[in-house]
Symmetry: C2
Amino acid sequence: MKFLGLDIGAGSIKAGIVDEFGFVEDESIKITHSRMENSDFQEALKTIITPYLSKYELSGIGLGSPGPIDIANGIIFSSANLPKVDKFQIKRILNDFTKMEIEFNNDANCASLGEYYFGEGKGSSNLFVFTLGTGLGGGWVWNGKLFNGFEGNGMEVGHTTIIRGGALCGCGNLGCAESYFSSKGLLARYKDASLSSLPTVKDFFEQVRIGDENAKEILNFGVEVLAEATRNIVNLLNVDTVVYVGGLSQSWDLFGDNLEKSIRAKVFPVLRDRLQIKKGKNQAILGAVSLILEKRNHG
Amino acid sequence: MKFLGLDIGAGSIKAGIVDEFGFVEDESIKITHSRMENSDFQEALKTIITPYLSKYELSGIGLGSPGPIDIANGIIFSSANLPKVDKFQIKRILNDFTKMEIEFNNDANCASLGEYYFGEGKGSSNLFVFTLGTGLGGGWVWNGKLFNGFEGNGMEVGHTTIIRGGALCGCGNLGCAESYFSSKGLLARYKDASLSSLPTVKDFFEQVRIGDENAKEILNFGVEVLAEATRNIVNLLNVDTVVYVGGLSQSWDLFGDNLEKSIRAKVFPVLRDRLQIKKGKNQAILGAVSLILEKRNHG
């Protein structure tokens, strides 16, 4: 069986063919631009999909996108990276174009299912996946089933309070986890401390590597906050496996050990002893295709 | 149909007959003492149960107890109010005595199911119940089913971090919600601030009523922490109804309005607009009997 996976990311659409064993082949990337409107975005999607439709007999199409989205109606309301895209009816448009059902969800949920079916969460009966990206997201797969929450809003772990009265978050509240461990959060805290701006979180981690004291301190504090957020999830949901994915997880060597040590010091022993803490495999195409498996297994 | 509900509380065992509509009758109370050992506790249970066995044709027995317990094996490991009771095999003992199956769970889970079936959570498809007692507990009923977590440890909402580096909690961590809003937490914070001890949380609320500035400030701060803990639950689990039960909820008039206002200022609008915030009905006997309904509906 061949599935088509589509991942809408920051600055591009990625596509690839996946078989039922999670083997990925024939990948391609279509660059997107911030000036794209609905019609341009639609053209870009058709351009990347068209070759796959003629070359393969597809058994399903899965698609992941950053929020805010409406899963049930298949709508991308807006996109931080595509500011001119507005209420884009992605499910209907792709359904008309491909004559196939499209499985659609937000990128954090896709990443969680992807780790469950094909990554570091395989075999877990209670898995939480943190998405460490521009923001801080999360997804929960319990007894093999994704928790979608209300209209697919579920698991806003980035917007849980860890430090009451702490740093101002983009959501308007104070002390959210996202304000301390996400690209946005780390860069904002660095600016507070050093009064100088870094363009991207890669530059931030580069500062940590070259020994910038401000950057090191902010990372260490962020790790403590992420450990508290993880503690809260473990104590609440009794998860047996926590996996971290997303752009920031590529710098796992700079914080993974400290994160694990801090989490293990904080959670209840009965939950700690069976807890697995891992950096994820991070394959967005597999995440998108996992939506098709979720649909088949749980309707 | 007649069910027998049993509630093991601080200082007593309560019993009552409940019909399928939630009408409670024929209630009785057996006082317990801190010097009771396993055999005395067993006698007390038999004494309160015996009259019901001869008087009614029972369709089920439900029993709630404070933790730590083992739901699957029906064991009360220990009890804060019965320090000499140790690994009490309550399910086997009552099963032998009554020749009936015993449905058994911790008091926070019973309270949650009780609000779902007979109280302020009726009709909710995503209900969280906070238990405001000696500690701070919680239970989640999602699509009509209780979330038990790993070996029934679930939902340790009192031990989620709200103020990183905050007050020392009984669990050994800093800044847990329970350190700020529970009998233990409010009394400890009052002692920190005023350097004088109050014997019970009733005395604490009495100080609030007579205008003690320390007590008022500590209550207001505790309410803010409870609002943050509630925000975290709403943003994570997308619950549509939050209900507060337990001893401290009897002083709802002193904090309920502030709590609701603070929660509504913090949660995402899409979740806030449908959110119900209520003081519970707080009927422990109904909670215990709800376990029988849960078993029938969900096995």
